[in-house]
């Protein structure tokens, strides 16, 4: 028993070592691939200029976020009177300033702030989950089966990819209104769960990462189509599903016009709409508190983005390489 375990251990260790060696070799190879011969090394001015451009661009992209962080610690009068690039108070009092703006934020939102964030999560999460499953199913169907009307269906969906989607919101509102579905959770979730781009990604991935031989083998073994899909295909497509989920999630989180039209109930609003409503009140002047709300509201999204960056890139490259 113990010898078997020992053998397994050494096997595992060996595998791990091999993997480490492989990674190291890859690193060296990757490094060497970009090492230019000496004669082709860029000259110093070129390197300097590139650095300047890249850093300047970085400042442009990060400055508004930096400013929002600083502003979120300030009172309305401090925003006007103090240096906009730095905190108004010393390090000891920042906690106090933050607490003050936080209280003001909760006050102006009538304690609905976290409710709004939660709403955004529910709308984006549910519509992205539903949207991913149906997009992958449809993508798999068009990639692996010949069914009547397939060409037409693909043509229509792809045509709608270039359709200005916001223009559809007004008729969508009328249809939901006549079904008495406006001002409900469904009126935001249903439109957000359908994405022609998600379908396109699902189709591209199913074409490239589900081998026909595997499907045939499973059929010969007598597996039903549903079982093949749910046990095998979904597993093969799981990286693709993360990508599609991300695109749908962000699309739903960013949607502004749709909830603006569909929802009137304060307690149903997503965070974007809530902050907009707060900022557009005529009497509103707590700009620092609003910046704090903006930052707290996007924090989950930023974590999701940076943590899953790999999947973004694979989705983008599918869109970039295939046309």
């Amino acid at each position: 028993m113990s010898t078997v375990q020992n053998a397994q251990m050494t096997d595992k260790q060996r595998a791990r070592e091999q993997a480490r060696a492989r990674r190291k070799a890859e690193r060296i190879r990757a490094k060497a691939a970009h090492d230019l011969p000496r004669s082709m090394q860029p000259s110093k001015p070129v390197v300097g200029l590139t650095w300047i451009i890249l850093v300047f661009a970085l400042l442009y992209f990060l400055f508004p976020i930096y400013w929002a962080v600083i502003a979120s610690t300030k009172s309305p009068s401090e925003l006007v009177s103090t240096n906009g690039l730095w905190f108004a108070v010393g390090p000891g009092e920042i906690a106090n300033a933050v607490a003050k703006n936080y209280a003001s934020l909760l006050g102006w939102t009538q304690n609905r702030f976290w409710q709004w964030v939660l709403n955004s999560f529910i709308y984006s999460g549910v519509s992205a989950a539903v949207g991913t499953v149906i997009a992958v199913m449809a993508g798999y169907a068009t990639a692996k089966f010949d069914f009547r009307g397939k060409g037409v269906a693909i043509g229509i969906v792809m045509g709608c990819m270039l359709m200005p989607a916001a223009l559809l919101t007004i008729p969508q509102y009328s249809i939901f209104h006549s079904l008495h579905l406006t001002n409900t959770v469904l009126s935001v979730i249903i439109p957000c769960s359908v994405s022609p781009f998600g379908f396109f990604l699902g189709r591209v991935y199913a074409q490239s990462s589900v081998p026909n031989e595997l499907l045939e083998a499973a059929r010969i073994d007598g597996a039903g189509e549903a079982r093949i899909f749910f046990t095998m295909v979904l597993r093969l497509l799981s990286p693709a599903m993360v990508t599609i989920f991300l695109f749908l999630f962000v699309g739903a989180w960013n949607n502004f016009l749709l909830p603006l039209m569909m929802l009137t109930d304060e307690s149903l609003k997503p965070i974007t709409l809530g902050l907009y409503g707060m900022a557009s009140l005529a009497t509103f002047n707590e700009k620092g508190a609003l910046m704090m709300g903006a930052l707290l509201g996007v924090l989950p999204l930023i974590v999701l983005f940076l943590g899953l960056q790999r999947y973004w890139q694979s989705g983008l490259s599918a869109g970039a390489v295939k046309e």
């Binding site: 007004i170 249903i190 974007t272 996007v298």
Partner: protein, 314 residues
């Protein structure tokens, strides 16, 4: 040979009828929701664009009952002859012509610089450029609305201290201020698309060009640039479609600038028409505006594709 026959038979065994049923079974959930969210609204918009809610039976001051009345092409004639509408269209077209090329070229330039390995450690730059895309358009606009505010913005104050006072909300500049918000949000996203396309170029191509004596700049211009043409075309098209429906930025900048009217962009005009704050109001005129807008977007995209093809041929 026999094995091949066997598989062929197996595929044939997986009959057309069964493929039909299974294919549609997987397709149906998407197809149903897609029809409900895309096809039905398109049909509904076309249908309702021929009708108008007209009050009948009331006196000179209205007050009569609203009647759903067939008005033929009246709504389209209204949209096509409305100054407000065409001013809005002119605005978004101008916006598109300025903003989209600027953003795409910047994104392409940044992607090429990052891909050139002139600077070794680029992960930080890549993440930093992409970060604004993680911020919802509404929130980005709210931040910039304050950064354009002359009283609190360090940018406005800094420029004023340098002797160049800028009012970001003044007539001609406000459109550029808006374009800047879109550029800030989407440049990094487009850069990642280009980066992905650049990284898909096989390295042998570079080697071959180098052996032929090409320098880094020549490789960038003559090997890399043509290879990302497809990605650039798609990015341009999607951006054109995106800016034509411009709504979020002007709607939010309206908070700070009452000069932005209810019909500032066609999308805002359509929304306010359907909600009754622009007359003639209702779904009919709003649908007509949306349909004319969709046609204009399609025409612009087609003109762009044709121009691109012509440039490609020559």
């Amino acid at each position: 040979m026999t094995a091949q026959k066997h598989t062929q038979k197996k595929v044939r065994g997986f009959s057309t009828k069964r493929q039909n049923i299974t294919g549609w079974a997987f397709m149906t959930p998407f197809a149903v929701l897609f029809s409900f969210v895309f096809i039905l609204p398109i049909g509904w918009a076309i249908y309702s664009s021929f009708f108008r809610e007209i009050s009948e039976g009331g006196g000179a001051y209205g007050g009569g009952e609203l009647v759903h009345k067939f008005v033929g092409l009246d709504n389209f004639i209204y949209a096509a002859t409305s100054d407000k509408f065409w001013t809005g269209v002119g605005r978004v077209v101008l916006y598109t012509v300025i903003q989209v090329p600027f953003m795409i070229i910047s994104a392409l330039a940044l992607a090429m610089l990052i891909d050139s390995y002139i600077v070794k450690h680029v992960t930080g730059f890549r993440l930093g450029y992409f970060l604004p895309f993680a911020i919802p358009g509404v929130v980005a606009s709210l931040i910039w609305v304050y950064l354009y505010n002359g009283q609190i913005s360090p940018i406005a104050k800094g420029l004023a201290a340098l002797g160049i006072p800028v009012n970001f909300y003044s007539g001609n500049i406000v459109l550029l201020s808006m374009a800047n918000i879109t550029t800030w949000t989407y440049t990094g996203y487009n850069m990642l698309i280009f980066l992905a396309a650049l990284q898909a170029i096989p390295h042998d191509l570079y080697e071959a060009a180098r052996i032929d004596g090409a320098n880094g700049f020549q490789i960038a211009m003559q090997v890399k640039l043509p290879s990302v043409r497809g990605a650039a075309l798609l990015a341009m098209l999607l951006s054109i479609v995106g800016t034509i429906q411009l709504f979020n930025e002007p709607q939010i900048m309206q908070i700070a600038d009452p000069g932005i009217s209810k019909s500032y962009t066609p999308m805002m005009m359509a929304l306010n028409t359907s909600q009754g704050s622009i007359t003639p109001s209702g779904d009919g005129p709003a649908s007509a505006i949306a349909i004319v807008m969709a046609i204009i977007a399609g025409l612009l995209a087609m003109v762009y594709i044709m121009a691109e093809r012509k440039v490609n041929e020559s």
